[in-house]
């Protein structure tokens, strides 16, 4: 539907066009302040009428120096900063950070802790996908869908607040365990959530999945093939929607995932609609995981024992045993802390957005020498020019939403 003469068909040309076609091109600056709900990222779009010829993404509008802060804070202090990375599922970042720290230290967690971390990580996954799909709905005009999703997120926030005091930015994990154990009230609230959320997911699917307008706006838009997904290092739902069957929960089982029975959602189309469907299905699988983990929640201590000298002992242990007192003293006093080997290691988890890993270099004391966050959003944002070429301006928001780019994880 271009107003240009037929020989200037954009789809068959690359960005290096001849001089005459330059007359038809105009530049649109999209962001860093823009109406879509994806915070501070900037796109400079070169358009021919409504068709995008090229897109030059620019990031860095939220770069706060997270990696430099990691060199000045201890492991248990830095977890508060990791909350602020992927801020729509902060507990997943906490789990990823301490997963990497415990890999460096060689700590083995208690089984109760593994199950608890699995449950909160999956609740964070549900929260993330609710917002991500909600944002896709909102940006393509479906406001009710967004409000349904946000209501269930408020229920998840309530669970997290009962658990550790904060709605999000929980800073829930600690080296060797978690900060608060599950109480019966928390378990009851999670059970209530598991009963009510499937109906909301059904309602949400009824609104959009077979909605003609939504399907037309997202089917065939932003297609990512399997080879390109691997070559461009896409991971998570973006890659799984293109046929890459890589999921760290199955390929490199960590925490309690090895004991639980769940499926990995994949699609082969690679367009925005496939990514939407993959996320909806992943939410249902997450519900199954939380159900199984909650039923099989082991008893016992949630933090590692005192002999490991990494997690704070309980008050009872501090006041009644000498090891407890010594351990408490060693961990709380400045300039003491625990021993960290002079080594480097990388560990990743399957975060809702993709493979979220931390490369940590240890230098003896409990402050990292280098704490590198491997951000899935950077690689997904780099995919954007490749996906959007040839589509129209209204597809920009749909593609951007389906990639789920979180600016804080993007820029760190």
């Amino acid at each position: 539907m271009s107003i240009a003469p037929p020989e200037f068909d954009v789809m068959s040309r690359g960005p290096d066009t001849g001089a005459r076609s330059e007359d038809y091109l105009w530049t649109l600056n999209f962001g860093p302040q823009h109406p879509a709900t994806h915070t501070t990222l900037r796109l400079v779009l070169k358009l021919e009428g409504e068709r995008v010829v090229d897109a030059m993404p620019e990031m860095g509008y939220l770069h706060s120096g997270f990696e430099k802060i990691g060199e000045h804070l201890t492991f248990n202090q830095y977890v508060t900063v990791t909350d602020r990375m992927n801020y729509i599922s902060p507990i997943a970042n906490n789990v990823a950070w301490h997963h990497a720290v415990e890999a460096l230290l060689g700590l083995e967690l208690t089984s109760r802790c593994k199950y608890i971390r699995t449950i909160v990580a999956e609740l964070a996954r549900i929260s993330d996908h609710l917002l991500s799909n909600g944002a896709v709905g909102l940006d393509t005009g479906a406001f009710t869908f967004f409000l349904y999703a946000f209501y269930q997120r408020e229920v998840i926030y309530d669970i997290f607040e009962t658990l550790c005091g904060a709605r999000f930015t929980n800073s829930y994990t600690r080296v060797g365990g978690v900060s608060q154990d599950f109480t019966p009230l928390v378990i009851e609230k999670i059970r209530a959530f598991l009963k009510t959320v499937p109906k909301t997911l059904d309602d949400m699917e009824r609104l959009l999945t077979r909605n003609r307008i939504f399907v037309d706006r997202t089917k065939g838009v932003g297609v990512l093939t399997k080879e390109e997904a691997i070559n461009r290092s896409a991971t998570g739902p973006v890659a799984r929607a293109s046929g890459v069957t890589r999921d760290l929960r199955k390929d490199e089982p960590y925490l309690a995932y090895g004991d639980l029975d769940f499926k990995v959602a994949c699609a082969s189309a690679g367009d925005c609609y496939a990514r939407y469907l993959v996320r909806m299905q992943e939410m249902r699988e997450s519900l199954r995981i939380v159900q199984q983990a909650l039923e099989n929640l082991p008893g016992g201590p949630v933090n590692v024992g005192i002999d490991q000298r990494t997690a704070l002992p309980t008050k009872k242990q501090v006041y009644s045993s000498i090891e407890g007192t010594i351990s408490h003293f060693e961990l709380s006093m400045a300039n003491r802390g625990f021993e960290v080997p002079f080594e480097e290691s990388y560990a990743a988890i399957e975060a809702p957005n993709g493979e979220l890993g931390f490369y940590i270099v240890g230098d003896g004391d409990d402050t990292a020498y280098r704490a590198r966050c491997r951000p899935p959003s950077v690689l997904h944002f780099a995919l954007f020019p490749f996906l959007i070429r040839g589509h129209t301006l209204s597809d920009v928001v749909a593609v951007l939403g389906s990639l789920n780019i979180i600016a804080a994880e993007l820029d760190r």
Binding site: M59, G60, H63, G65, E67, K68, I69, E71, H72, H99, E102, A103, L104, G106, E108, E228, I230, N231, R232, S233, A234, T235, V244, R246, D251, E252, P253, Y254, F342, E343, E344, S345, Y346, A347, A348, E355, G357, Y359, V361, D363, G364, Y369, R370, R372, R374, V378, L379, F381, A382, D411, R412
Partner: protein, 169 residues
């Protein structure tokens, strides 16, 4: 303990055969090799042909204050094989002045922005990179912030802006 990925001994052996001493080491189940900067690109080609099709991350560590460090910059490349789930960490060292390494963008397109970020934050030049400019810092920024000699609070750049008061706006 995190899951131990499948062994990569044959890959390490192939590298050692071709490039000499690669100093393999294993820590917590992760295999690391060291490749000299001059042969880095060929080594990555070999690795890609061995099946390491997913580039997980490209990053750098500044060893200025590290005990027992022999070089200043250690580039870290994390690779994975999606078919067999093997993982490998490749380290390439560089030194001041003007640390330079060959770019691996021709092999993995995902390295494009990751290398730009390393250039921006550490100042390591990648030869053959199609578009080496700053990624996260503003273009007019001259320092490389993640180097150990750059202070955490910066050098006053964050205060250096015009003030808009009520009577201006």
């Amino acid at each position: 303990m995190p899951h131990t990925p499948p062994a990569v001994d044959d890959v390490v052996a192939a590298l050692a055969e071709r490039f000499g001493a690669v100093e393999p080491s294993v820590y917590r189940g992760q295999t690391r090799v060291v490749i000299p900067a001059e042969v880095a690109f060929e080594a990555f080609e070999v690795l890609k042909n061995q099946g390491f099709d997913l580039l997980v991350d490209v990053t750098c560590v500044d060893y200025l204050d590290y005990k027992g460090a022999k070089h200043r910059y250690g580039l870290v490349y994390l690779l994975a094989n999606t078919a067999t789930n093997q993982r490998l960490t490749v380290r390439v060292f560089a030194d001041d002045p003007d640390p330079t390494v060959a770019s691996i963008v021709p092999l993995w397109e995902g390295a494009n922005w990751l290398e730009r970020e390393v250039w921006d934050l550490f100042g390591i030049r990648f030869e053959g990179h199609p578009d080496l400019r700053r990624l996260v810092m503003p273009d007019e920024f001259t320092a490389h912030p993640l180097r150990k000699d750059y202070p955490l609070q910066g050098r006053g750049e964050r205060h250096n802006f015009p003030v808009i008061t009520r009577d201006h706006s």
